[in-house]
Symmetry: C2
Subunit: 456 residues, 2 copies
């Protein structure tokens, strides 16, 4: 397998002669197109306001597939495909309700959203609450202290982490695995503090998992304000949580990845994949997550085409289905590409919101990190300054095992506001700034332009 | 005067030995204080919601002076002064109204705000409109084409400028000098397209000037949407503008700069001034402009004090009065400092909003630009990456002629959203993100910490 890695290293040009004044002029044209004649903001509006939330398996997700195909047709991309993929189908049902009741009998309503994939409560669920500050604390608890209760996992994201994704990663366990760990100790339900930074009334949903052989219990997220209220009430004595969630699973549904290309002028059979995910959680409108990423990639390809750039390699934009609760689209894409013997040479994902661009990260051989560091001086006039080793994206990650040595790149916008909106009803079109979105599109176009030029 | 410049150069340490692991640890503490135990967001809320807009000469501006003094007392700064300064006093009066009337007689209301300093219309003003795309176009026009009409200066900010302040600078002339140039040709009024990037219904006010010997005519700003409507109506034929503005000047009022210090441990008589401006335009709440800058400086000093840092030089925070329409506070401060023979060794201003920090600019000798470039590696973990020659700030600019060779520094946050809110009713507390504000405070504290260490 070393051979493959060597292959990927050998496709890098030596960089210094690759770029010229002409490249600098070309990049300026890409930014002008995005900022002066850009379509991205209107495209995002039509996705968010014309369709809205689009969870895998929903009618809205199917509408989004058709929207994506139509957009690519309108922009005249060279090839447009729908790739079939089976996806999970979970529905929230009626809006959730919950109250906390203190020992004095006083009842206070709290903000709750079921976690994605949770079972419902089958009517009213009422039980005493036991609070833990982390998943580890829960794991260490005695069965007696948890049995028959609702576990409240009240771990706050660490505000001192400069990159908010780091803080998110630190809390991910309570959402993903809280229900399993609670059930092991006999809990009848679990509620978590939303993985969010601001103190507000928005609960944030997201994926959670059950394990074979461990009983399934309902799992919900509380807003940060409701979490503080519940914790405060628990300081005073026994608290009962009353909740109802109507959510349930349905059989898998057929859906699609949506793809369109600019055919390579020199090496049409070598493919650079760029993408984001078309599905979203069912609260909000999936504006930052990941409507912005979809539009970044759509607009990047439109800009490259409109400005008359003829990429050497084929640039394929993929709107992946089902990143949020299964990554079925990402897996189906990698499997299909491999099976068809496609030569995938690099992939770029945008799935961190539509904020002001910082740069790109590379999940790949250090020589690729050096490669993108070589883009920095050309992109400095656009305030792109972050070119580091790091993460690519969930949707493109299955390419890594299918194509050993393939470099994956992730678009990195400013992360400060991302967890204000992530997976919440507040992730709506109005929270995306037009210029920030447009600069992201231009950054993606410029990065792909340079990547295509740099790869043999 | 070369002597002075040499003095300022000589006060730089050689940099390499100046910083250590300890500095890196210290900077981490400053950021932790801002992000975990920060007061900035609550302080900005109390300034914006407890007082609101605070134009020079208004009761709110006086309330803001008292707010500033009280805050500094609460935080236990070493010395707190109010420095008297006489400021202009202009009032908007009743809310402005305006309509456009096409030749068919149809009347449509439009969004208008008087420019700051404008005279009123003295009842209803009704005249035909003549449109120009720039101040230069107006200057080239014939008297016959303008006489008796209302001039409409419809120059849009250039969206292709990456730094939005560049686009603002390109349009500044229509706001500052449109009335004078219109009056020279016999216009009876002037309305401008707001200096703003988004298409929305918010008109943006700002300073404008009259000239001795040129008759004064009323000047207002239209929202970008109203500007587009007016321009479209003019394409179809003659358009009449009907407007009323109640604004007027009053005699100058006494007001104050508010100052507080951390006394230097080694050189208490050498002063690093840091500041923003306390006054704001009367639309909105002056949240980004410049409540954020006030809070950046207030919180930076609080953080330095709380973390136990003993600066070598005296760090003086100044809340300047009257940046928006006269800069009387800035001039009074420089004059006073000079007269008192104070040794001012550097000044830092924050007046570009409360957005995610990019870095700092230096208006000074190239050796100071090199100095701050030397801060970059210590500040990279906080995504501070912009250390360049550039601009300091309006309030601190009079120090430049009072102290030849003094380096001025400007805090540089991301500029993309600034002209969504600038001088408009939309510049409210809710438009400031808590983390972005806090990171700005910490950046200011870290910069001042390093500057104090670096200067002899």
């Amino acid at each position: 397998m070393l051979f493959r890695t060597l292959f990927f290293i050998s496709i890098l040009f030596s960089l210094s002669p690759a770029f010229s004044q002409n490249d600098s002029t070309m990049i300026r044209k890409l930014f002008d197109e995005a900022l002066i004649r850009g379509k991205s903001y209107d495209d995002l509006r039509s996705l968010c306001k014309g369709i809205g939330a689009r969870l895998s398996g929903s009618t809205q997700a199917q509408m989004a597939v058709e929207w994506g195909k139509r957009k690519m047709e309108t922009y005249g991309f060279d090839k447009i495909y729908l790739q079939p993929v089976m996806v999970p189908h979970w529905e929230r049902g009626n809006k959730e309700v919950a109250w906390i009741q203190s020992s004095s009998g006083e009842v206070v309503p709290i903000d709750i959203l079921a976690l994605g994939g949770s079972i419902g409560t089958n009517g009213m669920l009422k039980a005493e609450v036991v609070e833990f500050k982390s998943l580890d604390d829960l794991k260490k608890a005695s069965k007696a202290s948890v049995q028959g209760k609702i576990v409240f996992l009240n771990q706050a994201m660490n505000p001192a982490d400069i990159v908010t994704f780091t803080a998110y990663g630190g809390c991910y366990g309570i959402r993903g695995h809280g229900a399993v760990e609670g059930a092991k100790l006999g809990a009848v339900g679990v509620v978590i503090r939303s993985l969010a930074l601001p103190e507000d009334h928005f609960p944030h949903t997201g994926s959670m998992y059950y394990e074979e052989g461990i009983s399934k219990i309902p799992a919900g997220a509380l807003s940060t304000i409701s979490s503080n209220e519940l914790s405060k009430a628990l300081e005073k004595g026994k608290v009962t949580l009353i909740m109802e969630m109507d959510c349930r699973d349905f059989p898998d549904e057929p859906s699609f990845n949506v793809m369109g290309e600019l055919t390579g002028s020199e090496k049409p059979n070598e493919i650079i994949t760029i993408g984001g995910h078309l599905d979203s959680w069912d609260a909000g409108e999936g504006a930052h997550d990941d409507g912005a990423g979809i539009v970044h990639c759509l607009e990047a390809l439109r800009i490259l085409k409109t400005t008359g750039i003829k990429p050497k390699h084929t640039i394929r934009v993929v709107f992946f289905m089902n990143e949020e609760n299964g990554n079925k689209g990402g897996h189906a894409y990698a499997t299909w590409a491999k099976k068809e013997n496609q030569k995938q040479i690099a992939a770029v994902e945008s799935d961190r919101g539509g904020f002001s661009p910082d740069g790109f990260e590379c999940d790949g051989n250090p020589s690729y990190v050096q490669l993108i560091k070589g883009f920095a001086s050309l992109l400095k006039p656009y305030d792109l300054h972050h070119f580091e080793a790091g993460y690519g994206g969930v949707d493109i990650s299955p390419l890594k095992s299918a194509y050993e040595g393939i470099p994956l790149f992730g678009f990195v916008p400013d992360s400060q506001r991302y967890f204000d909106f992530h997976h919440a009803a507040s992730d709506v079109f109005e929270r995306v700034n037009k210029r920030e979105l447009e600069l992201g599109c231009a950054s993606m176009a410029a990065f792909v332009y340079l990547l295509d030029k740099s790869l043999e």
